[in-house]
């Protein structure tokens, strides 16, 4: 069973590697894809039937201990129960159908190899999430899914619009990752070594002796709910989902119709013991579900494009699932998930048929297709038209048209303050910066010399404030990729410094963190200097520079260093990030907030820079032409 579980998990990764290392010929890719899915099918069915044979008992498997230091443990832990099984099956079924579909659908597309690579990475991430045994592992999968979503939305990278929407989705993902990252840390804090999903239920059974207090638990619940609603496009993040439909139709179907959108539900199912324990988080989940249902079903009414309509219909159903979960109807929600996943997947796949359907099939009889039925030509349903005064009708329509104002709301609450802060940082003159640097040095000396035990605590405060400020200045920087790059690196160094000040004996963990960051930083610097050698970036900072088209190798290196810098699980920095958090925040919980803000903002700033540099369409630099006649 262990082997089968690992096989289920690692086969997509193997597929990814084989495709990545292959020469990209379509036939080879197709052969790899079809074999991997078949073998995977055998494994999944084998695993599930063994699990069934064992009497549907929850099953946990610890592969190995990735890292152990003092009381800190990072076990690679997997877990299979009813929820996981349902998801595992759906993931495999939909994934196999989609890749089979794409074998022909993507035929001759320039990005054939790239597409399958990304979709395998996505499947790998999904499997990690579904089979994860602890929040840490789940978070690793979460990141993989986030990045592969980002890449698939920006699949058609020579157009600015997919690129922009990719960034938008990524921003929301990133923001909501805060929830999960802090959740992971808090679960370390709360449960110590017993952050296993398997033990979570029993943890609360004997609550009477449990020392956890309501406040902490509520906070943890709120963080988890934040992560879930971001991924599932629930209130107030509904708006990103329709806009993410930029990749090839099947990728939209699998991500935003079928699987990715239900991950929030999965997270809630997994962490049910934590958040359902208390009345307040349940109410929050219920309210989110309800608001989403209302807004999404109104927005759906005024979607004049077919994919947007399906997207909002799907969001509304996920809203229902949230409500079901809040009411404790887990099985119903699970069933609902499976049905919705298959239905929306199918709807998206056949969405191009809508023209023929409406014009030739539905219009053929005297149905509600309003060309025949002039009554329906009116706007808004009759019931509303008769009851509401004009001004309210218009209001309702505008509300629906603008999708519940959510995007405007989120932008003004979350991003505008950050931008303003960053812009203010950008205006700070060099003098102040030098002064700060000197002050920092002095602090450092004080700390190093252990003049006062208080120093280490209180000195870390300004350092971490500085870290956040540096991050925001990277966020609002538009003119120089170098400045962005260096600011992000700087922010990471400051994070390490702050932790070191607080916990001097964690030097090894910090080195691990930096061992991921520093090489990425240097690699990135080198790539940037090569790429921008003859460019005057600041003069036209708004152009997409299309390096992925003109210099694909460099662009790939830039992407890899970008992944390293944002703590993607390919370098030790990912683990280091987690360690830093647990060290520092273990003593000073306020620090967690700063480091996560920095973490999110850094990611967004870098993603934005990467898009400007790598995506877009190449244009002839100078015109060398010859006149005729």
């Amino acid at each position: 069973m262990n082997i089968l579980l690992l096989a289920c998990l690692l086969l997509p990764l193997l597929g990814f590697l084989l495709i990545f290392l292959g020469d990209g010929s379509e036939r080879k890719v197709a052969r790899i894809v079809s074999w991997i899915t078949r073998v995977k099918g055998v494994c999944v069915i084998g695993l599930l039937s063994m699990w069934a044979a064992s009497g549907f008992k929850s099953f946990e498997y610890q592969w190995f201990q990735l890292y152990q230091h003092d009381d800190y443990q990072f076990p690679v832990l997997f877990y299979l129960d009813g929820v996981g099984a349902a998801y595992l099956f759906c993931v495999w079924a939909i994934f196999s159908i989609i890749v089979k579909y794409c074998r022909v659908y993507m035929h001759r597309d320039a990005g054939y190899q790239r597409f399958f690579q990304t979709i395998f990475a996505f499947a790998f991430g999904l499997n990690i999430i579904v089979l994860s045994g602890s929040i840490d592992i789940l978070f690793a999968g979460w990141e993989v899914v986030g990045i592969s979503s980002f890449l698939l939305i920006a699949f058609y990278r020579h157009r600015w619009q997919p690129v922009r929407n990719a960034l938008r989705a990524y921003t929301i993902y990133r923001f909501c990752d805060v929830g999960l990252l802090m959740g992971a840390w808090m679960s370390h804090l709360l449960f110590h070594e017993s952050q296993h999903f398997s033990q979570m239920g029993s943890l609360f059974n004997n609550y009477v002796n449990n020392p956890l207090n309501y406040a902490v638990l509520s906070l943890l619940s709120a963080l988890i709910i934040l992560a879930a609603s971001g991924k599932s496009a629930q209130f107030p993040f509904c708006f990103w989902l329709p806009r993410a439909m930029e990749g090839p139709t099947p990728s939209s179907a699998i991500f935003y119709g079928a699987l990715s959108i239900h991950l929030g539900v999965f997270l809630l199912l997994r962490t049910m013991p934590i958040w359902s324990f208390h009345f307040l988080p349940r109410l929050i989940v219920f309210a989110i579900g309800l608001l989403t249902v209302i807004i999404a079903s109104l927005s759906e009414k005024t979607q004049s494009n077919i994919k947007g309509q399906v997207a909002y219909a799907s969001i509304a159903q996920v809203g229902f699932m949230f409500i079901e979960l809040a009411l404790g109807l887990e099985t119903l929600a699970l069933l609902h998930f499976m049905s919705n996943a298959f239905l929306r997947c199918y709807q998206l796949l056949v969405s191009p048929s809508i023209v023929a359907h409406l014009l030739r099939v539905e219009g053929a009889v005297n149905s509600d297709f309003y060309i025949k039925d002039r009554q329906k030509l009116q706007y808004l349903p009759t019931s509303l038209r008769d009851v509401l005064p004009d001004v309210l009708q218009n209001t309702l329509y505008v509300f629906a048209l603008q999708e519940g104002q959510l995007e405007i709301l989120v932008r003004s609450i979350l991003w505008d303050p950050l931008k303003r802060l960053g812009a203010a940082m950008g205006r700070v003159n060099a003098w102040v910066k030098w002064f700060t640097a000197v002050a920092l040095l002095i602090w450092l000396l004080i700390a190093v010399n252990n003049i006062s035990p208080v120093a280490e605590v209180y000195l870390s405060i300004p350092v971490s404030v500085l870290m956040v400020l540096v991050s925001t200045s990277a966020f609002s920087q538009k003119h120089s990729p170098f400045k962005i790059w260096n600011s992000v690196a700087m922010s990471s160094f400051l994070a390490a410094l702050a932790v070191w000040l607080m916990v001097p004996n964690a030097i090894f963990d910090e080195l691990m963190f930096l061992s991921g960051i520093v090489p990425s930083w240097l690699l990135g610097l080198w790539v940037l200097s090569r790429l921008l050698k003859n460019e005057h970036f600041a003069e036209s900072s708004f152009r997409y520079r299309a390096f992925a088209q003109t210099r694909p190798g460099m662009s790939l290196l830039l992407f890899i260093s970008f992944l390293g810098m944002v703590g993607f699980p390919i370098t030790p920095a990912f683990l280091g990030e987690d360690l830093l958090l647990s060290h520092a925040a273990g003593r000073h919980p306020w620090f967690a907030l700063g480091i996560t803000i920095a973490f999110v903002v850094n990611g967004i700033a870098l993603a934005r820079m990467f898009l400007r540099l790598s995506m877009g369409r190449a244009v002839r630099a100078e015109v060398r032409e010859f006149h005729v006649g």
């Binding site: 079924a93 159908i97 089979k100 579909y101 022909v104 035929h107 058609y156 600015w160 806009r243 439909m245 990749g247 079903s297 759906e300 009414k301 005024t302 004049s304 494009n305 994919k307 947007g308 309509q309 219909a313 509304a316 159903q317 229902f320 049905s339 298959f342 239905l343 199918y346 709807q347 796949l349 191009p352 048929s353 809508i354 023209v355 023929a356 409406l358 014009l359 099939v361 539905e362 053929a364 149905s367 509600d368 309003y370 060309i371 009116q378 706007y379 808004l380 004009d390 001004v391 329509y397 505008v398 629906a400 048209l401 900072s541 152009r543 369409r617 244009v619 002839r620 010859f626 005729v628």
Partner: protein, 853 residues
């Protein structure tokens, strides 16, 4: 000439908008698909100049990458002789030519990239760069949402406009009379401005944004070209409201007013009320302007030479073979069956196979509306559609009525099998998804792993099955409410049928059975389905026209009138209609009950031959499908094309006009012994009965825009698929039944998707007419404005003498004798199957010898 001139004249908004509209694409709502010259805006320039000017406006590529031409040369598909010819045509000096010969083979990875253009590097972009404002990303989503909801034809559940409301009024209503004002018009001063009416709003915004009146027109153009799809759509609806099923009141002026107000609102919001105007830009002098100085055509000579060499290589393959065709003397025996096909290049191979299978069949070609233009409303159609080329404005409406009572059908929305088309979201959706969603797991798996061979819901597609009777004969002369005449009078019918028969040269020697074969195409999951149907029927299946033609030609009264005019159709001759499904290679026969016993037997023979021919045709098509079976087994190949047309994951049900290259107007004897690889539009024409060129002029006036339009649309979509074409189909999203866009908030995509053009060789059409030069001259004199196509080389035009087979090429300066290399002859073969074996690219024209009939 739609280029703006810098003059001291006052700025006149309406005149300027009319001028600018010429630059917008003219692709209508997606339910009709009409092929046209993508670059109609520059058709008054010679081809290369026009392409160069368009590139500077739209920021598009003008030619293939140079390495494509070079590799074609290495493969032998561009000949050295053609390069020499192309250099000679370019008229450059001797030393320049020497230098050019070297340049041609040098690597140049940038030569095909688009030049500095108004659309990408104009004043608007410079200004936005300066302000560091991502204006398109802010304004477009707002505008596209408003436009698509306003124009929507049936996707959204709540319609935006009230009855008859104009776009401007609608926006005004949502802005001024709503508790939540429309974003970004919520600022007080913007709302105040909106009260002044569209014209004042435009002028006010231009003053604030641009400043200099000289630049107004350019700014407006750049605003429109930032989303050419929507601008073009609005213009089409403005000028032809009938192109929509549910008419909408919108105009470019209203669009511009809303968009400029939106831009101003965003600038104000981000930059405050004092921002840099365009006329204050420091780099203004370096920015290309919308005037003659920037839009002087600059043609890169080496690309031009390569391109013409490629075209001439391909063209001379046909010319070589034509020159060797024997001259037929007397009329042969009367054939068993005559079959009139559409001029369409996809019928080229089917006709060849049909004649190979049964040499007693004679085929003819005519534009697929068979000279009968009308609006048609079938039994299952919601609305009447025009069944003729767009240049013709039909005046007659034909409806179909059921011959027998039909069973009452259920409302499809209530059918559970169709449930996925209505994306229920609330309570009903909850119930459905909870219960039925899982069924879709099975359905999905089934349709992906076991694609059906039959089309889903085919019974409701009116073109495939004729279940009714056409009302063709007009009972009274009163037009209906929309001003259409209901049916034709006998003399009108005789005029149309006679005209058609004369233009294809079928005025005597009628066979006992004359088939009129229309064509259409089936595909699923394909919003561009109309682009797969008959181009001469404005993107519809041609079945109604074929049925109408057969009915009219069978009518005693019509025949009597025709007899007076000298066309004597024997009483034993019957006409019958059929339709070829080009994606499935199937044939449907209509109205068989109208045939007598003798012609029924002939029909059976014909059906037998067609069955064989279709299978061979399917095999020939399969050689283009990389994932299809490359087998000599015709059955297998046919099975494959059936699957292809019915699977939801197949973006290429067929390759349509991908091969189009030639158009030949002449007798079948000129082309009957040629293998033309499905590349030729074949129009039948008898040079002997047309001494004054009148018939030729009529034939050309349909053939040039239809075939030339198809050819140029394929050409430009292939050359730059992301600017002139629709890009890849894969991410397309259907918007309001109007068109497709990338993603949810993209611009409408015009042109052809990459899946239609990827194997196309982008060469201009070579139109060859079999006629004497003096008659052709007379015909050209009657051609009117269409002569522009030939004079400016948008179509290559050659004439083949019916007696001597001497070839002449049309040039603006006069006829130019075509001299092909003496020692090269067209390749020969004995049958089609031998030629296509193992070939996956285009094949030169072959001559058939020996065994071939």
């Amino acid at each position: 000439m739609p280029i703006h001139k810098h003059t001291a004249d006052a700025f006149e908004l309406d005149a300027v908008i009319d001028q600018l509209a010429h630059w917008l694409p003219t692709q209508g709502p997606i339910k009709d698909f009409i092929h046209h010259n993508t670059l109609h805006a520059v058709q008054h320039f010679p081809f290369h100049d026009g392409v160069a000017v368009a590139a500077k406006v739209f920021g598009a590529r003008s030619y293939l990458p140079i390495e494509d031409y070079q590799s074609r040369f290495r493969e032998g598909r561009i000949s050295q002789a053609a390069i020499d010819w192309a250099i000679a045509q370019s008229g450059c000096s001797e030393e320049r030519a020497e230098q050019l010969r070297l340049e041609l083979f040098a690597a140049d990875p940038e030569s095909h990239l688009p030049p500095i253009s108004l659309a990408n590097d104009g004043i608007r972009n410079a200004w936005l760069n300066h302000l560091e404002l991502d204006m398109n990303a802010l304004v477009h989503p707002v505008m596209f949402r408003l436009l698509s909801n306003f124009l929507d034809q049936g996707i959204s559940r709540w319609v935006l406009p009230k009855d008859g409301e104009s776009f401007w009024d609608c926006v005004l209503r949502l802005t001024l009379n709503s508790l939540i004002p429309l974003y970004p018009f919520h600022q007080a001063h913007v709302r105040e401005m909106l009260n002044q009416g569209p014209e004042q709003v435009i002028m006010h915004c231009l003053r604030r944004i641009v400043g200099d009146e000289q630049l107004y027109a350019q700014y407006l153009l750049e605003v429109l070209l930032a989303h050419p799809g929507w601008s073009g759509m609005v213009r089409i609806i403005e000028t032809n409201p009938r192109s929509l099923l549910v008419p909408r009141n919108i105009s470019l002026k209203q669009l511009l007013a809303v968009e400029l107000a939106c831009e101003l609102a965003f600038v104000d919001k981000k930059k405050g009320s004092h921002f840099l105007r365009i006329d204050q830009l420091p780099e203004l002098a370096a920015i290309p302007l919308f005037d003659e100085a920037h839009l002087t055509p600059e043609v890169p000579l080496k690309m031009r030479v390569w391109h013409e060499a490629m075209e001439w290589s391909l063209h001379s393959e046909l010319l070589l073979a034509l020159g060797e065709q024997p001259v037929v003397g007397t009329v042969g025996p009367i054939p068993e069956v005559q079959a009139i096909f559409c001029i369409d290049d996809r019928e080229c191979s089917l006709r060849r196979y049909l004649e190979e299978v049964n040499p007693a069949i004679e085929t003819l070609g005519a534009p697929g509306f068979f000279g009968i233009d009308f609006l048609y409303q079938g039994l299952d159609d919601v609305y009447p559609v025009a069944q003729c080329p767009t240049v013709v404005k039909p005046r007659h409406l034909i409806t179909e009525s059921a011959t027998r009572p039909r069973p009452e059908r259920k409302d499809p929305r209530q059918e559970l099998g169709k449930m996925h088309f209505s994306a229920h979201s609330l309570a009903r959706g909850w119930v459905y998804t909870q219960t039925l969603g899982l069924v879709y797991a099975a359905r999905l798996a089934w349709s992906v792993f076991k694609p059906a061979k039959k089309l889903p819901g085919i019974r409701t597609l009116s073109e495939v099955e004729a279940h009714g009777h056409l009302h063709l004969l007009r009972e009274n002369d009163a037009p209906n409410a929309e001003g259409y005449l209901l049916g034709f009078s006998l003399s009108e019918m005789a005029e149309k049928v006679g005209g058609q028969l004369r233009s294809i040269g079928l005025v005597k020697n009628f066979a006992p059975l004359v088939m009129v074969v229309a064509h259409g195409s089936s595909s699923v999951n394909n919003p561009h389905f109309a682009a797969y149907d008959c181009g001469a029927c404005a993107g519809k299946p041609g079945a109604p026209n074929a049925r109408a033609f057969a009915w009219m030609a069978n009518h005693g009264g019509v025949r009597a009138i025709l007899r007076e005019q000298g066309i004597d159709i024997p009483a034993t001759t019957r006409f019958a209609a059929a339709m070829h499904n080009t994606s499935r290679d199937e044939m449907v026969y209509f109205d068989q009950s109208s045939l007598d016993k003798d012609s029924h037997a002939a029909l059976q023979n014909f059906q037998h031959a067609v069955h064989k021919a279709l299978q061979r045709n399917a095999r020939e098509r399969c050689r283009w499908f990389e994932l299809g079976p490359q087998t000599p087994d015709n059955e297998l190949a046919h099975k494959h094309v059936l699957e292809r047309s019915a699977s939801i994951f197949e973006p290429r049900p067929e390759y349509n006009h991908s091969n189009n290259l030639y158009c030949i107007v002449g007798r079948r004897s000129l082309t009957r012994h040629l293998f033309m690889d499905r590349r030729a539009f074949l129009q039948s024409y008898d040079p002997d009965i047309d001494q004054d060129g009148g018939i030729l002029a009529r034939v050309l006036s349909a053939a040039i825009p239809v075939c030339g339009g198809i050819n140029l649309e394929y050409l430009f979509s292939r050359i730059d698929n992301s600017v002139y074409g629709a890009g890849t189909k894969l991410p397309h999203n259907v918007i309001g039944l109007l068109g497709v866009a990338n993603g949810v908030e993209g611009d409408l995509r015009t042109g052809l998707p990459s899946q239609m053009i990827e194997v196309h060789e982008p060469a201009r059409l070579l139109l060859v007419v079999e006629q004497r030069l003096d008659v052709v001259d007379r015909a050209l004199a009657k051609l009117g404005h269409l002569l522009e196509w030939l004079e400016n080389d948008w179509v290559r035009f050659a004439v083949c003498d019916p007696q001597s087979r001497v070839l002449n090429l049309y040039r603006k300066q006069g006829w130019q004798a075509i001299e092909l290399e003496k020692d090269i002859a067209a390749p020969v073969s004995s049958r089609s199957e031998k030629i296509i074996v193992g070939q996956t690219k285009t094949i030169p024209v072959h001559r058939f010898i020996g065994g071939h009939s």
